[in-house]
Symmetry: C2
Amino acid sequence: MPRDLSLIALDWGTSSLRAWRFDGSSTPGEKREFPWGIMKLPNAGVDRDTAFRETLNKVCADWLTASPPCPVIACGMVGSAQGWREAPYAPCPVSLPQLASQLLQIDLGKQRMLNIIPGVVKNGNMPEVMRGEETQIFGALAANKVLQQANEAGEPILIGLPGTHSKWAIVHRNMLSHFHTFMTGELFDALIHHTILGASMVPAEEPQWPAFLEGLEVARSRHSAGLLSTIFSTRTRFLTGQLPQTQQADYLSGLIIGHEMCGLGKLLLDAARPDMPIALIGNDALCDRYQRAFNHYFSARPLHLIKYATENGLWQIAKVAGLFTTDTGKIFHAI
Amino acid sequence: MPRDLSLIALDWGTSSLRAWRFDGSSTPGEKREFPWGIMKLPNAGVDRDTAFRETLNKVCADWLTASPPCPVIACGMVGSAQGWREAPYAPCPVSLPQLASQLLQIDLGKQRMLNIIPGVVKNGNMPEVMRGEETQIFGALAANKVLQQANEAGEPILIGLPGTHSKWAIVHRNMLSHFHTFMTGELFDALIHHTILGASMVPAEEPQWPAFLEGLEVARSRHSAGLLSTIFSTRTRFLTGQLPQTQQADYLSGLIIGHEMCGLGKLLLDAARPDMPIALIGNDALCDRYQRAFNHYFSARPLHLIKYATENGLWQIAKVAGLFTTDTGKIFHAI
């Protein structure tokens, strides 16, 4: 049985749900994962509020009913218009204390409250939104000494979150000050599953790095002509015997990530200081891919790979929000 | 009953099949359309050769069995590796007589021959291929006096074929000398049907031109950052109340076609003479859209909209190949 529970933390996204139990320290005591994202709740057919309550109970009824009652915090799409209840976006620039002051509360009964962290919006002609990444970004800042030192010295930091919708964010003087979205992962999936480009692809047993690098190189030399004109080469190189079927996917991956790198250069990096600290948050395989792409385009810049950014961010925001008190305010999982 | 049959002409693509009967003159006497593209033959389960033969008989057994026997010509994906039989690509640059000399013949029996026009390949590091468009391009050249005069004067001509895979081709001194593919139509379809961008779209009763123009404008101002970073604004402008659901599709259409226009500029147009004749081949609605986009980006350039390019090209190639003789060598459908 859990003892001295201090926090239940949830990362509740579109397609999956992760839950951590913190008991007395900033290191989680247990982690659980489920395929029950907000678009995949296991109990369709009941009303939305009931569906979310029942799912939460399936995930951690034992944690929720333990004594004394402990707070629950969540980030991600659970706070979107399609989620449990909409937590209005906090406007960018935004600090961790500002996020912590805007939690949306849902009464779970029996003295338990769910606190949903708002997403962030960058207003303007080309608006940007995020939900969940803000928590990872502040978690990364708290977890990594190099990033902390740069931030405290007043230097901007670039944090990349590759994925379905890749985000690249600038943190400056404790504020998430600026970010851009690239639909890289979702576009790649749509291309390989729903266009002619995927028709002849054969899975490879391991990443085909030469093909990936070739894709990066083509994107660099052809970026001004644009992705619409480069991606068809995935097929024509196959048709002309230049690209084996097992290498098509990694060639296309290199092309698409290469175009993202070119865009990142234009939007953020070309004008930045060469020594700006840069961090990556994401799964190992994807970060490896982005690290290689980054090295190919911006060779002099080392990247910091950040682990445990999500649970770290959830803990930090809950603490600053005063959801619990603790003597052990130390940073954990420092790398 | 048909009389004096001189040619049966087929445009047999991936998703549809069009057939024309020419009887004695260069103006088709009858046209038939079917949804029986090479990937949608009506008689799955039989072997490939039988499936194509049976489909052709369903389409025009009456034409095929008429006396005297007449030649059959076809263009499009019917000559691809997934088609009836593969007609090897003709290398670019290529002329109409060169295409006409490389027809792939299939014996239909009873003194009837099917002649498949080869596609065209542009070899090199970034290969390009087409199947069917080569026939439309030479058909357009034969059908339009302005294009003919420019060609005879030794001036290059640009011909655009918007669609699933948009092609932009240069014809110079009777040769198809150069072309590029943009996966515009297929990418648009994949985005609206298989990504988050389509999730909130509501069909409009008519084209939303202001939203389309706004998409064109965003693509122009943000092309160097790339399509991956602009398309998400289709969603964020909706989320921030700047883009109604009924306008999302046309905004995205403007964005994507705008990126194609920027790429076209970089690849072909920026270095071309401002008075180069430019023609468009395609359905009316799509050509209208491209005409507006073109005017927005390259305002001084008038476009020639070409009708009946496919049937005209099939007739021209059959004639030059000597599949039939005719006294009426006049160009038809001239516009």
